[in-house]
């Protein structure tokens, strides 16, 4: 059992410089950001407001963006690495352990698998991938039906531990802010989701 008072006392001689950095940020904001990261989410610049049916600026992204140095240090002290992608306009928290275990890559892989399946399906349907990232376009009901009917996609999803198939996979992305649901059966990718597909295209072009 630790004595809370003792802890407070030991924290007293805090350096002035870092104290001012903390002063600039509302604890509520910082806590909200921490909560997002804790639930394994990516913080994207624009999030979907389902009430207004439009993309709105994510205040948490701006807080992170404006105090990048502070948050980098903060999360470094917490044993993680704050990763910022300027092109994809998103932040995520990386476990900075040099853990070579499977589990370390598991989430990244599952996200990548679903995004790649979506991207591949979309490109094959003859559409420009850019449309995947637009709220008014994206995947429609027919797309979901077609994708769910593809046996190979189902096999791959199952082997990536999405036993319930496409719906579960989309939900998985949705929970992590990689994709938004714009309507009953309509989805589109967030800037972070789009970034992955664009990176694949770029990598392929340069290879």
């Amino acid at each position: 059992m630790n004595e809370p008072t003792a802890l407070h006392e030991s924290n007293e001689p805090v350096q002035e410089s870092s104290a001012t950095q903390f002063d600039e940020i509302l604890p509520a904001h910082s806590a909200a950001i921490y909560k997002e990261f804790q639930s394994g989410r990516v913080i994207v610049r624009d999030i979907w407001d389902s009430n207004r049916s439009e993309l709105v600026a994510n205040p948490l992204y701006n807080v992170l963006y404006n105090h990048l140095g502070h948050f980098r240090t903060l999360y470094e002290h917490l044993g993680s690495e704050l990763v910022f992608s300027e092109n994809g306009s998103f932040f995520f928290l990386k476990e900075s352990s040099d853990d070579e275990s499977e589990e370390h890559d598991e989430n990244a892989f599952r996200v990548q698998v679903v995004l790649l399946l979506i991207g591949r399906y979309f490109a094959r349907s003859g559409r420009d991938l850019d449309f995947l990232g637009r709220p008014e376009a994206g995947l429609n009901e027919q797309d979901l039906i077609t994708m769910a009917a593809d046996e190979e996609y189902q096999d791959i999803l199952r082997a990536a531990r999405f036993e319930k198939g496409l719906a579960e996979a989309l939900d998985y992305l949705d929970k992590r802010n990689l994709l938004f649901q714009a309507g009953a059966e309509r989805y589109f990718l967030s800037s972070a989701g789009m970034y992955f597909l664009q990176e694949l295209v770029r990598e392929y072009e340069q290879a």
């Binding site: 059992m1 394994g40 370390h104 989430n107 990244a108 790649l116 003859g126 992955f196 295209v201």
Partner: protein, 474 residues
């Protein structure tokens, strides 16, 4: 061959099987000649008739025989040159054929447009030294010539715009085919790409330059400057009628610029998208192939390989590597007040009492999933309920969590759904001296099962257990 066809019958056969001449005209346009090589004609006819029935085959072959074509006057000349026979078809026939197939309109190439411009400049030069007298046959002839040239040019350009607009529709159709037949996608895209590039570079761009009033040409005035110069000349010499007419023509020509520009923009967009689309498509296929290879590995004979080995794949792209949800650090609600210790000790007492009755604890039957076998479920719930009834309870703000804490890991085979079901009876018949208050607040109960990767969550309504006496005092 003794059998002959009349001109009408031959022409009728030609239009019944138009593909032969369509292809020959295409070939003629491509090589920019005004004749058809006899060898080409024979080859085309043989190729085309291969699929026809016997009677049709003979009839078509006979009709398109060089002798027959020449005798019926559809071929007007046969030239022998460079060791081959060249057939010159009647212009009327060729033009009629072109009219039947939009793609056979001769597109305006840079050279042809230049030709028209040079003629117009020539007319302007001749106008400068003209008499502008109605009595002078030279002038009236020149004026008719001018009218004809300008209207010819407008007609030609207008036809071209229509043709360009139809081809963009054709291209859209083709790309539609491509999306419907993914196997042939690449091939489709390639053809599409080539066609659009040709159309754009050879026809649209020159036309656009030709019709742009701001174009500077190295060898003289552009179309509108030429027309304007003529309008001015005619006005200065009092021929307002013709000047106005020419001015209106230049307005019409100017108006053609916009639709061509629209087509150009559309095609340019198409071109960009096509290239982009090709890259995107290939990139997706490339990485998907890697994923499929991983999947194939899971389909080997080894039964243990059930999941994809995605580590290498994930690292190669690097996207979101290391992303994971973390458990929030647990709060340990240690307190120092006397009530905290009272609560702690009463809980310890209750748990100790539980342990003393250990041998009486019912064993709940294991079932794979709740709800599969109702009878077993009912038995489990009854056993649990009997146990709950015998328990000593203390007042608590969250009865479910309290009971869960006392059962989890203590009663063999216990699962939270049993508790939630058994609780119903406890609510209706509360233990002596207590009452159960059901609140409208919801709480979740999470089970932690280290073996399984899915932990279960249960949502329940918070229920308080209060001493009844206290209530009566209030």
């Amino acid at each position: 061959m003794s059998k002959r066809f009349s001109t009408l019958d031959t022409a009728r056969l030609l239009f019944e099987h138009p593909k032969i001449l369509f292809r020959l005209i295409e070939r003629m346009d491509r090589s920019e000649t005004r004749y058809v090589r006899e060898g080409d004609l024979v080859a085309e006819v043989m190729d085309y008739t291969r699929t026809l029935g016997r009677a049709d085959k003979d009839r078509v072959r006979l009709a398109l025989n060089t002798d027959n074509l020449f005798r019926t006057g559809l071929v007007i000349d046969i030239i022998k040159a460079e060791g081959e026979r060249r057939l010159v078809f009647q212009d009327a026939l060729i033009n009629l054929m072109r009219a039947c197939n939009a793609s056979l309109y001769q597109e305006l190439t840079d050279a042809r447009l230049r030709g028209h411009l040079v003629t117009l400049r020539d007319v302007r030069d001749r106008l400068e030294f003209s008499s502008f007298s109605e009595a002078d046959p030279d002038f009236t002839e020149l004026r008719d010539d001018l009218n004809e040239r300008v209207s010819q040019l407008i007609g030609l350009l207008r036809q071209n715009v229509i043709r360009m607009q139809t081809i963009s529709g054709q291209l859209a159709d083709m790309s539609g085919d491509a999306s419907r037949a993914p196997e042939k996608y690449l091939q489709f895209r390639q053809t599409l790409f080539e066609q659009i590039v040709t159309l754009y570079e050879r026809h649209i761009k020159p036309t656009l330059v030709f019709l742009n009033p701001d174009t500077r040409l190295p060898d003289g005035s552009n179309l509108f400057e030429t027309l304007e110069a003529m309008v001015r000349l005619l006005e200065n010499n009092g021929d307002h009628n013709l000047a106005d007419q020419l001015f209106r023509s230049s307005l019409s020509l100017n108006a053609l610029y916009k639709p061509i520009q629209a087509v150009a923009r559309e095609v340019e967009h198409f071109l960009r998208k096509t290239r982009q689309g090709m890259v995107q498509y290939n990139a997706m296929e490339h990485f998907y192939a890697k994923l499929r290879a991983l999947k194939d590995e899971t389909e080997t004979l080894s039964l243990r390989r059930k999941w994809l080995e995605g580590s290498g794949f994930a690292r190669s792209t690097g996207f979101l590597v290391g992303l994971r949800a973390r458990q929030r650090p647990k709060h340990y609600a240690f307190g120092q007040s006397s009530s905290y210790y009272q609560l702690l000790f009463s809980e310890l007492d209750l748990r100790l009492a539980d342990i003393r009755r250990r041998q009486e604890v019912p064993v709940l039957q294991e079932v794979a999933g709740s709800g599969r076998n109702t009878r077993v479920d009912v038995e489990r719930i009854r056993a649990l309920y009997d146990w709950l009834e015998s328990l000593d309870l203390r007042p608590t703000a969250d009865l479910v969590r309290e009971l869960h804490g006392r059962l989890d890991g203590f009663m063999p085979g216990y699962r939270p759904p049993d508790l939630l079901a058994a609780l119903n009876r406890l609510v209706n018949t509360p233990p002596a001296g207590f009452r159960v208050v059901t609140t409208n607040r919801f709480r979740t109960l999470e089970t932690e099962e280290p073996d399984e990767h899915v932990s279960e969550q249960f949502v329940y309504r918070k229920r308080r257990l209060e001493p009844r006496t206290e209530m009566q005092n209030e």
